[in-house]
């Protein structure tokens, strides 16, 4: 009995660990693929070499990040079977097709055109190359569509029946795909990916502006990134708020955990800013709270009643600590992004966008903040769904594979060792590329490959272009 529980805990740890590593790469490459498409479009449209240089600069980084996303993603797709076979048997008929569509419409598209995007500029010409870049960018978005649909279905299942063997059967595909939380989650995640990328690009630009504020390539990337932060951070906060209201409607227990509402408040719930959730005592210790503000935020009324976890059987409680703190970290990161956007707008208005060392330091420190927010946000939504894999219907303990504890423990150890070494090295290579200043006549990924580089003539300079 104990070993069965241990195997489930280890399987959960393995999913959380491999997912946390994996999500970093798609979150970055979804945004970066779109950014690359924009850069290439601007180059084709304006003919300014600065955009081509930036395209090639970020393409090298994209190649590494994308590769790591692919290999860590294959692990995810097989983990459903290896560690969560009961889940796969039961939900396969419903979410299996969504993931199959992800492979058919997105993965093949990205993989098929990636080679042309990375190495094919001289072989196919500009127009076809731009189409390849566009296909890769669209592919990353289609991929987000399907996998978030599948994830959202686990959060807010709809359009299904359950057969005699306990398998979920599809009843209405449109209801399955466009389940209640999906539109909100899709918007929230795609914006998160764009913000994450903007912060990385902005931090890189800021790093080079601190060293040489005249570097015009660093200026362009910094300016573009700050526009993204200025425009998208406020939109993201609104989208996140809407997502939260949707969660309140469909997954109220998750909101209770995020808010730390152990008790029901029939006449207005407080907004707990900080504190330490004490699961066994059923209260938040050291709580710093604003009376009635919780009802104001969630119900737009000071005295609106809000139920707490005391209205839910204990065996259906998530571990409150994780969604509670994950939520605060995510919101804090979001507010910092908003602040960065506002400050950069101020400097842009004052004409000191490229000179303000303080702004550049702030932007640099904000570089990893998108990843922090994305990981924290996923911890909120995934741990807040517990103790279910399919919210309210299928329990996590009924989802795991019949595996011996040593099997799961050793695979977890193997993944930990390999991920920490391999992906640390990959991140190191990415950082190395980011530290190199973007310059005129930037070389693309093919330049690192000597056997191909010599056969290639440099990109013909655009007539009349000197920038």
């Amino acid at each position: 009995m104990f070993s069965a529980i241990d195997a489930v805990v280890l399987a959960r740890a393995q999913f959380a660990f491999t997912m946390t590593f994996h999500i970093v790469f798609p979150a970055f490459s979804i945004g970066l693929a779109s950014y690359l498409a924009v850069l290439e479009a601007l180059w084709l449209w304006t003919g300014r070499a600065v955009f081509l240089d930036l395209f090639k600069y970020w393409l090298k980084i994209f190649a590494i990040a994308f590769g790591m996303g692919v290999v860590s993603g294959i692990v995810m797709s097989y983990q459903f079977g290896t560690n969560w076979s009961a889940f796969s048997d039961k939900t396969g008929p419903v979410i299996g097709p969504l993931m199959a569509y992800e492979v058919l419409t997105a993965f093949f598209l990205e993989a098929g055109f990636l080679g042309v995007m990375l190495f094919g500029m001289e072989r196919v010409g500009r127009t076809l190359h731009f189409i390849a870049t566009l296909m890769v960018a669209i592919g990353t978005l289609i991929s987000a569509f399907w996998i978030l649909s599948a994830n959202s279905w686990m959060q807010t299942p709809a359009g299904y029946t359950i057969n005699a063997e306990g398998q979920f059967y599809p009843a209405d595909w449109l209801a399955v795909i466009f389940n209640p939380s999906f539109p909100y989650r899709l918007v929230h995640m795609v914006l998160a990916a764009y913000l994450t990328t903007a912060l990385v690009v902005g931090a890189t630009g800021a790093f080079h502006l601190l060293r040489d504020y005249a570097n015009d390539r660093a200026r362009v990337m910094f300016s573009m990134a700050m526009w993204m932060a200025t425009l998208v951070a406020p939109i993201q906060i609104v989208a996140g708020d809407q997502h939260g209201l949707n969660t309140l409607e469909h997954q109220p227990v998750k909101i209770m955990a995020m808010e730390g509402h152990f008790q029901s408040h029939p006449d207005g719930a407080p907004l707990i800013l900080f504190g330490w959730p004490n699961q066994s005592a059923g209260r938040v210790d050291y709580a710093l709270e604003i009376p009635k503000a919780g009802s104001l935020v969630l119900k737009h009324s000071l005295d609106a009643p809000l139920k707490g976890l005391d209205s839910v059987p204990r065996e259906n409680w998530p571990t409150v600590l994780l969604p509670f703190w994950g939520f605060r970290i995510m919101v804090g990161a979001g507010l910092l992004m908003l602040l960065l956007g506002v400050i950069s707008l101020y400097h842009r208005w004052r004409g000191s966008l490229y000179e303000s060392a303080l702004l550049h330091w702030f932007a640099m420190l904000m570089g990893p903040m998108g990843f922090v927010a994305v990981i924290a946000g996923w911890f909120v939504t995934e741990t807040g769904r517990q103790p279910f894999t399919v919210y309210g219907v299928l329990r996590t303990t009924e989802s795991a594979s019949p595996l011996a504890t040593p099997a799961v423990a050793s695979s977890l150890a193997a993944f930990a060792i390999v991920y920490f070494t391999v992906f640390a090295v990959g991140v190191f290579y990415i950082l190395k590329l980011m530290v190199a200043p973007p310059h005129r006549g930037e070389e693309g990924p093919e330049a690192a490959i000597p056997a191909r580089a010599a056969g290639i003539t440099p990109m013909p300079a655009v007539a009349g272009d000197s920038r």
Binding site: F80, S85, T91
Partner: protein, 334 residues
């Protein structure tokens, strides 16, 4: 054999797995051959011959796995825990070799660690796939709707044999790919290797074929009694014919034909496996009809497959076309 949805889906999954086996087969094979090519320059050429397309090759593995979960969830749920260790080993191997494609260009000064990772990762992944194949063929313990055996049940002399046989077969695919994609001295070495690897592959094929009837599964009956003999008899005959053609094409130092004929050899062997297994998806335990997802799931995906697979094949072919021809060996000396 009636043509119903589960049968169609069995063919689709089989097609995806076959596409994976031959496409990632040759690029895993290149990793396996790395130790036979010591010079940095040769390894650059070998790597370049596949760098633009390897990612697409590997996507078929995701389609095979994801498609199995979607179309035959019960089979996926039984087989993955049964193959736990080989699958994890394969994934780890694929991580090392996958990142090596990008990392080795960034690591010039750090020696050839990523060359070793590419070769070792390819070996681990290929061996694990062969072992997994053998483990499926020898049958797995099923209890209720789940795997009922231990986490080392897959390890038998037979699975080691299938593992080694697949490694050798992938190496042959890789060597004949190199004949097609390279020139000069590198190509000569690929010819020499192809000869040896062809005989090794045939030895593996014969050994696996001879060992299969001794498994605790009813393959013997299937292969050697009428009427199934009508399906099985052509298999060894075709293998012999293709082997003859392959030997002749190597002897005549043909360029493209050795690779194509190796693909045909894989296709025939694969068809033989299909004859052995059909209609079971978990041998002797679960048929494709027992494992099938409901018609509503399979129909929904079939629409997508019918439209998208031809498109995927078209743009994959385009990517191969863009990077067609020989990799320029002189290009390294600039």
């Amino acid at each position: 054999m009636t043509i119903d949805l589960p049968t169609i889906w069995a063919f689709i999954i089989a097609f995806a797995v076959f596409a994976y086996v031959v496409m990632d087969g040759f690029d895993l094979g290149l990793g396996l051959l790395f130790p036979f090519f010591k010079s940095h320059h040769d390894r650059d050429v070998i790597m370049n011959s596949v760098a633009p397309v390897w990612d697409g090759n590997e996507t078929w593995l995701v389609l095979g796995g994801g498609g199995l979960m979607a179309a035959f969830p019960l089979a996926y749920a039984v087989l993955m825990p049964a193959l736990y260790t080989p699958v994890i080993a394969m994934l780890l191997g694929l991580i090392f070799r996958g990142v090596a494609f990008e990392f080795r260009w960034r690591a010039r000064r750090e020696g050839n660690f990523w060359d070793v990772a590419f070769a070792a990762g390819s070996l681990l992944a290929a061996l694990a796939q062969g072992v997994a194949l053998g483990a499926i063929l020898q049958g797995v313990t099923v209890s209720g709707r789940a795997y009922g055996g231990g986490w080392w049940d897959w390890l038998t002399p037979f699975t080691i044999l299938t593992g080694v046989a697949l490694v050798v077969g992938y190496a042959l695919l890789g060597a004949t790919w190199l004949i097609m994609k390279t020139t000069g001295e590198l190509r000569e070495r690929a010819y020499a290797l192809s000869w040896r690897l062809l005989f090794a592959t045939l030895a593996g094929l014969v050994a696996v074929s001879l060992a299969t009837p001794f498994l605790n599964v009813d393959y013997w009956h299937r292969w050697f009694t009428w009427p199934s003999l009508a399906y099985t008899a052509p298999v060894p005959i075709l293998v012999a014919l293709v082997t003859f053609l392959l030997l002749r094409s190597l002897d005549r130092r043909q360029d493209v034909r050795p690779f194509v004929l190796t693909l045909v050899l894989f296709a025939i062997t694969y068809a033989g496996l299909g004859v052995s297994m059909y209609p079971f998806i978990v041998p002797q335990s679960i048929t494709i009809w027992q494992a099938a997802a409901p018609a509503k799931s399979q129909q929904f995906m079939l629409v997508g497959v019918a439209i998208l697979i031809p498109m995927i094949i078209a743009y994959t072919a385009f990517a191969y076309w863009v990077f067609r021809g020989k990799v320029d060996p002189q290009a390294g000396y600039h």
